[in-house]
């Protein structure tokens, strides 16, 4: 849900999923006179914006880590269900060693079966047929991958805004330093001309 509006920066997004875009400044002097800010206030404003961006970035990175852990989990489940399904016709039981506690394993004998139980979270486990389980897991995997893609795009947008803000801060600061230098030189030149 992003909106675009014509701005000085050539029709870019003004925000993306709640993250405000950093407006690119064509000319520092025009910006400062239009906004009525003195350099220090402008710097403070942009610094604060930078902090807010950092907070959002932390949140998004945490979400990304969660998703990146979830996806291999789902893939492992799919593998197990596929193995069980492959064994269905043969009538052989599958022997599996599983971890009971750290370093302690136990052996399970898995007979031919048509159904598996899937852990859904929140202390809930549901029984599904192998086909249904595969379909559900595949669906979850697709959703997780799609969410991850959107998240990565959000992070890229955010990083761009952070870069624009950092450059803006540098430019406003430079402009300010430049102005002060010019002001220092001019009175001396007038004094030299007078004498």
């Amino acid at each position: 849900m992003s909106s675009s509006s014509p701005s000085g920066s050539g029709g870019e997004l003004t925000e993306r999923r709640g993250i405000p875009a950093a407006k690119f400044i064509q000319d520092v002097e025009t910006y400062l006179s239009q906004s009525g800010l003195d350099p220090n206030s402008a710097l403070a404003f942009h610094q604060e914006r930078l902090q807010q961006y950092k907070v959002v970035e932390m949140k998004l990175l945490a979400q990304q880590r969660d998703l990146q852990a979830k996806i291999p989990d789902i893939e492992k489940c799919l593998e197990v269900v596929a193995t069980l399904e492959a064994r269905k016709g043969t009538g052989e039981a599958l022997l599996a060693d599983f971890e009971v506690s750290e370093g302690i394993y136990s052996r399970a004998c898995i007979e031919d079966t048509d159904s598996v139980c899937l852990w859904l979270g929140a202390n809930v486990m549901l029984e599904y047929s192998c086909d249904e389980a595969t379909a559900l897991l595949k669906n979850n995997l697709e959703n997780a991958k799609a969410s991850l893609e959107v998240l990565v795009a959000d992070l890229q947008f955010l990083r761009d805004q952070v870069t624009v803000t950092q450059v803006t801060i540098a430019r406003v600061y430079n402009w300010d330093v430049h102005q002060r230098r010019v002001k220092q030189v001019t009175p001396t030149a007038i004094a030299a001309a007078d004498s």
């Binding site: 394993y105 890229q156 540098a170």
Partner: protein, 130 residues
Amino acid sequence: MCGAQGSKSGSEMEVTWEDQQNINTFSRLNNRFHDLDDEIKSAKEKCDNLEDAGNELILADEEMVRFQIGEVFAHLPRDEVETRIEDMKEATCKSLEKLEEEKVSIVSQMSALKKVLYAKFKDSINLEED
């Protein structure tokens, strides 16, 4: 990380939208480069592990091998395990190749952008790793 710092003379340096976009692109590429490095490292590790597993399998003489599927170790016949390991090795090596290719492309894109940005900004910009 790259940063656009003020030059020592504090001179007015015009930054156009195109420059800003170049800087943004460079930043994105740099991030992707670091992520790629991590991904390549873990893919290489996985490849090595599969290689070791394959070798162990040849040395072992049991008929039933315990092969990890998900969180459990399933007892599978040796041939099946061999096939599975081969498939996994092929998939991992292929993805490793793709990652390396992407890394090469990103490095060349980054050095092209560096040339453009240094040409315009000279000392006022720092694009090196710190």
